[in-house]
């Protein structure tokens, strides 16, 4: 399972970066989404994978049983997913407006604000 997830993260990062380097606007958004998912997966798997051991405290006990999953990365990744979702929606709206006002979606043509 570890290997599969590690490969997944690697592929997501690679695909994300490849998409970011394209000139088309839609690929840019896809790239950002893929990178965000890769980051989320890293956080999720960062503390190690446990299977079938939910982080629940048994009745009467004060702490979860030994070997239980760490709940913190799950909480963090939920926060990160929500934030990432918001950022993606904003980026999509922005790119759409930028395309409407400029009439094209070639990122290399957006050089007005860098002009000397």
């Amino acid at each position: 399972m570890n290997l599969v997830l590690a490969l997944c993260i690697g592929i997501l990062f690679t695909a994300g970066i490849v998409c970011l380097l394209q000139r088309c606007m839609m690929r840019l958004v896809v790239g950002l989404i893929l990178l965000g998912q890769a980051a989320n997966l890293i956080v999720f798997t960062g503390a190690g994978l446990t299977s079938g051991e939910p982080a629940l405290v048994a009745e009467g006990a004060k702490v979860p049983p030994p070997g239980a999953a760490d709940a913190l990365p799950q909480a963090m990744v939920l926060t990160a997913i929500v934030i990432g979702f918001g950022l993606t929606v904003f980026a999509l709206t922005l790119l759409n407006r930028a395309r409407e006002t400029s009439g094209h979606d070639d990122l290399d043509a957006f050089s007005e604000t860098d002009r000397i």
Partner: protein, 506 residues
């Protein structure tokens, strides 16, 4: 008032301000009054915090009484408190400036709530003692800044925002990966706890991947070389009030995170990265100032100068002596005030002449000598002319560089100072000194359509503060030295955070 209450007030006031401004959105006058009053309240709370922190050293508050390192900790040391105060000052000045600058259409409806949300993110980032929390505050700040940047939907704005948004989302992803990997290795996110765990040298080897990712994330927010390209591409496009608060605060949050990182939770990796940081700082200074020299529009020139000045702050951090850190802290405070002020003045020029292009400006000194004074103070403070604040800031960095025998970096710092002065002189000669290209008659008429008082008041107040910091440089520098001592010896910080629950909210 308990210590924890004072710390939480710094966050509660911006939230309350934002909510009230949202609720009063339909009554613009009420909303404006609330927006300004909220900023005044935030400033008062910040003054209280600085006074308390300067007495007590470090204050910590544990949210809901969850003991560190399990709960969320807010910490105020002298650096954080000082930053909170300066940020609150910029918030107030921008709120006043916005009274006239952001008036058309539906813009004000969103400006004041977002300004307070932006300040919430900034203050949270300064005060948090938890790495993941820092990420969340960065996002609060970022989302508010995205919307502020695109207010008005101008074509150039959308283009600038495109670059700003994409690169900052990228930085957030890097930050998240860095923080997640750090948690995977150490099992904690509390900065003080990380610092303790990394005192064991065998753990440090594991830290470098996360360390580099965090350096890239903070560096991108700070605008260091070669990660700064989003900044000059976007900062000259939005409303002046928005550019001013961005120019003053946002990159400095990145610098703050770098300082916090390398004096606390990343201190184990610092030695390996010292020369990288020094040369990055030098490259940032040089590239920024050369970019400024190549441009001929007021706000574009000023944007490149932000990059160049960030180099000085990072150089102060990279030298890592008490004097250098104090210099960096003083530099940040001075820079926030001066740079915000320069954008304010740039905005007044644009308001009066309808353009910031140097070629179309001229004769301002002859027709508006008061504006010349308002520009002169921050511009020549930025250039480092004594006795203005920038002189002491540069002096401290240069002296620390000489003490640390970093000859080449110090030589660059001095050279860049001269070029900065050159580029300020360029604006002075073009906009103020030369004759108005439109002829005398036209020059005597101001193009201002709106009363200028709300624009001039914050600029004049900040110019006064610049002069006062310059004249009372000793007092201010003593505070910066005390802040630097706390940074050099993080034991007090760690003990206050992990030591007990005295400051906790029940």
């Amino acid at each position: 008032m308990s210590d924890a209450t004072i710390i939480f007030l710094q966050l509660v006031i911006p939230v309350a301000g934002a909510v009230v401004c949202l609720a009063t959105g339909r009554a613009p006058r009420v909303q404006r009054v609330c927006g300004v009053l909220g900023s005044i309240a935030a400033l008062m709370a910040a003054v209280l915090l600085v006074a308390r922190v300067d007495d007590a050293g470090v204050l910590a508050a544990q949210a809901s009484g969850w003991a560190a390192p399990y709960g969320i900790t807010l910490v105020a040391d002298r650096l954080a408190a000082g930053m909170v105060l300066v940020a609150a000052l910029v918030g107030l000045a921008t709120a006043v400036y916005g009274l006239r600058d952001v008036t058309d259409g539906r813009l004000p409806w969103t400006f004041y709530p977002l300004l307070h949300f932006l300040l919430l993110g900034v203050q949270g980032a300064f005060l948090t003692g938890d790495l993941f929390n820092l990420y969340v505050w960065f996002e609060v700040m970022l989302v508010a800044s995205f919307v502020l940047l695109t207010l008005g939907n101008g074509r150039a704005q959308l283009e600038g925002a495109l670059k700003y948004v994409v690169l900052n989302i990228l930085a957030s992803a890097l930050f998240l990966v860095g923080a997640g990997m750090l948690y995977g290795k150490l099992g904690t996110l509390n900065m003080a706890d990380i610092a303790i765990k990394l005192q064991d040298p065998s753990e440090v080897a594991l830290l470098h991947t996360s360390g580099i990712l965090l350096l890239a994330a903070f560096g991108l927010k700070a605008g260091i070389f070669p990660l700064f390209f989003w900044l000059p591409a976007s900062y000259h496009t939005p409303r002046v009030a928005v550019s001013a608060v961005f120019a003053g605060l946002l990159t400095k949050v990145g610098v703050y995170a770098l300082i916090r990182g390398y004096t606390l939770f990343l201190s184990g990796t610092f030695e390996d990265l010292r020369s990288l940081l020094i040369w990055t700082a030098v490259a940032t200074m040089v590239v920024g100032v050369l970019g400024a020299a190549a441009h001929f529009e007021v706000r574009r020139i000023l944007s490149f100068h932000i990059v160049s000045q960030i180099g000085y702050m990072v150089l102060g951090l990279a030298l890592m002596t008490p004097l250098a850190l104090a210099g960096a802290v003083f530099y940040i405070g001075h820079h926030i005030i001066v740079k915000t002020n320069l954008f304010f003045v740039g905005g007044i020029i644009e308001e009066m002449r309808g353009s910031g292009e140097l070629g179309r400006l001229g004769g301002l000194y002859r027709n508006h000598p008061w504006l010349a004074v308002l520009f002169f103070v921050p511009a020549f403070s930025l250039g480092g002319i004594p006795p203005l604040s920038g002189f002491w800031a540069k002096l401290a960095i240069v002296e620390a560089g000489l003490e640390a025998e970093a000859w080449v970096a110090t030589a660059f710092a001095l050279g860049v100072g001269i070029l900065t002065l050159f580029s300020m002189t360029k604006i002075w000669m073009e906009a103020f000194w030369k004759a108005d290209p439109r002829g005398e008659e036209a020059a005597a008429r101001t193009g201002a359509r709106k009363p200028l008082a709300p624009l001039v008041l914050p600029a004049a107040a900040f110019a006064t503060i610049t002069v006062v910091i310059g004249l009372a440089g000793g007092e201010m520098f003593a505070y910066a030295m005390r802040a630097a001592d706390q940074l050099m010896d993080n034991a007090i910080y760690i003990r206050t955070v992990l030591g007990g629950l005295e400051g906790g909210v029940p």
